[in-house]
Symmetry: C2
Subunit: 342 residues, 2 copies
């Protein structure tokens, strides 16, 4: 209808953003009724899907159509099939299944915090009252450990590559401290790839139970030690070759991070390195989109956490005594690795 | 990293969908703190925005960056500016402002219903317990009437065009019944465009108060009558040239709609027409995306409503006694008009 070259202003994007939460809940519902496994196993019409997923035919028809619209299913001649992504990541029979992510990413607590985002914008930090992240919150972090491990594996492979050259030269054991280990899958995956790696995982006791289960499944429990407690005051041990700091520093403000980094610096052997996995936005703070957008998640959930730029990380590391600091982008992953040497 | 031609399966889309609710809450927060008006008025850096919007500088910086990433703001050299869409639709000083939509689209009730979507899929209708839509729910529908009127205006212009040829030929008054009128802006906008249109608006009393306010603002109150009550049992009057049925039939199942359409048929004069504004998916039920996706909204909020295909609407209208039924697509709008003649 418009005769101008530029697109006419339209409320469509605004309407879409205000209804986008529906996409989250639809995918979560698909995961919860195990729709993708049912389709993978051959149920491909509403009646068969209803029977297999114990849903109403009308309900599952509408849900499957919606997930087709969103690109998670195909529909042809009334029959549904899995897309390549859904077959790999949403069919429970797949080893790369990651439907469990929904339980953390769309947890009641995460939703509650997002619902009070306006108050958090006014306050400049989470209005939830539980955002300092220095005390155990078992429900939240055990849920995280149980749900989010699969996301860590590709990046853990990158960490193993970064360690591998050293690994070859000396031949002796490589000691890794995995701080706030959670599911433990950064350290565990590296230990699985590199047989001379010995991991010490630090976290709250309830969370470490999950990490130990994962270490046992991976067959590396004999090279897996644990230390209970907080990165702020636990005895970290010393003489580590590497310290993994994965998705941790974003919870705190820069002075707190400097304090933590000083402790990690002390626990490294001379020449040892921290490998910090983080969302690192460019200095403009609006690119790349996924890393930069993570800042809002920290506003919603923490008192003073953020997605820090590399310049900010460099400053924190320098203040904590590290002699060099560099940024390693990783192809195909939204996070990067900050490497700092003692 | 991939050497194959086809993209390697990636969990990125799944992760994005499971976190997409954040986009909804961020835009809602921007509207609630009136960020867009503040930027429109010239505050373009975090410190100035914090002062103008009574927010924390850190909070508003993170929010404005996020909304830049989502395409609702521009950021250059650290200064924010409005996009064309935001200037027209999100700056309160604009006559086309529609930020109020957030209050209905992201209402607590809508969120609650989406949070129990899995139960609704199992049940085949809303698990909320309040989905029959035949009784007054003032809180929900007064909120709708106050929030969503601006979305109706472009389509109302289309309805006026569809009526206009008749309007010219006879010269006499054209009587329109606006069923479940809500904000009233379909009938009111048409009456504003066509001076010989007389509107009778039907809705619950509390909702009609909003419609009357809007009719008064539009200066057409002298051609605006109201009837209180339900489309199921109110006295509708008779001899109407047109009945507007806008965003109404999607709340009910086909037998209920046939019953309603029989009542509307009786209220029309011979040759009179119903103009039904609806999301009408294609027979595949997965295109066009916006119309087809609306089916999920009805699953979440109603006992047995749906986004019906044209074939389904045609069948309901035939069963109710209409002699013809046709579908009128509308350029640039996600809804279409079903026209049926008595």
């Amino acid at each position: 209808m418009s005769t101008a070259a530029a697109p006419r202003p339209s409320p469509e994007k605004i309407f879409e953003a205000l209804t986008r939460y529906q996409q989250t809940f639809a995918l979560k519902a698909g995961i919860e009724v195990d729709l993708f496994t049912a389709i993978g196993e051959g149920a491909n019409e509403p009646a068969a899907l209803a029977k297999r997923t114990q849903t109403a035919e009308r309900g599952v028809r509408i849900l499957a159509d919606y997930l087709t619209i969103q690109g998670f299913l195909n529909k042809e001649n009334g029959k549904y099939s899995l897309t390549p992504d859904s077959a790999v990541f949403l069919d429970k029979r797949s080893p790369a299944y990651m439907g469990a992510m929904a339980e953390f990413l769309v947890s009641g607590q995460n939703l509650d915090n997002m619902q009070i985002l306006t108050a958090s914008v006014r306050k400049g930090g989470t209005a939830s009252g539980i955002g300092d992240n220095s005390k155990p919150e078992d429900e939240r972090w055990v849920n995280f450990a149980r749900s989010m491990g699969s996301m860590a594996v590709p990046m853990a492979g990158v960490l193993a590559q970064m360690i591998a050259p050293n690994s070859g030269s000396s031949g002796g054991p490589i000691r890794v401290l995995d701080v706030a280990a959670g599911h433990g899958l950064y350290g565990i995956t590296v230990a699985k790839i590199l047989p001379n790696v010995q991991v010490t995982a630090l976290d709250w006791p309830a969370v470490l139970e999950v990490a130990k289960e994962n270490a046992s499944k991976a067959g590396i429990l004999d090279r897996y030690a644990t230390r209970h407690g907080s990165a702020f005051d636990a005895d970290l041990g010393e003489g580590y070759d590497y310290i993994f700091i994965t998705n941790f520093l974003h919870h705190f403000d820069p002075p707190t991070n400097e304090k933590l980094l000083r402790r990690f610096h002390a626990a490294l052997k001379p020449g040892g390195k921290t490998l910090t996995v983080e969302f690192v936005p460019n200095p403009d703070r609006v690119t790349p989109p996924m890393a930069a957008a993570f800042s809002l998640v920290m506003l919603a959930h923490t008192d003073s956490g953020d997605a820090y730029t590399f310049a900010e990380y460099e400053k924190m590391h320098c203040a904590a005594g590290f002699k060099s600091c560099s940024l390693h982008p990783v192809a195909d992953l939204p996070q990067q690795v900050v490497v700092a040497e003692k």
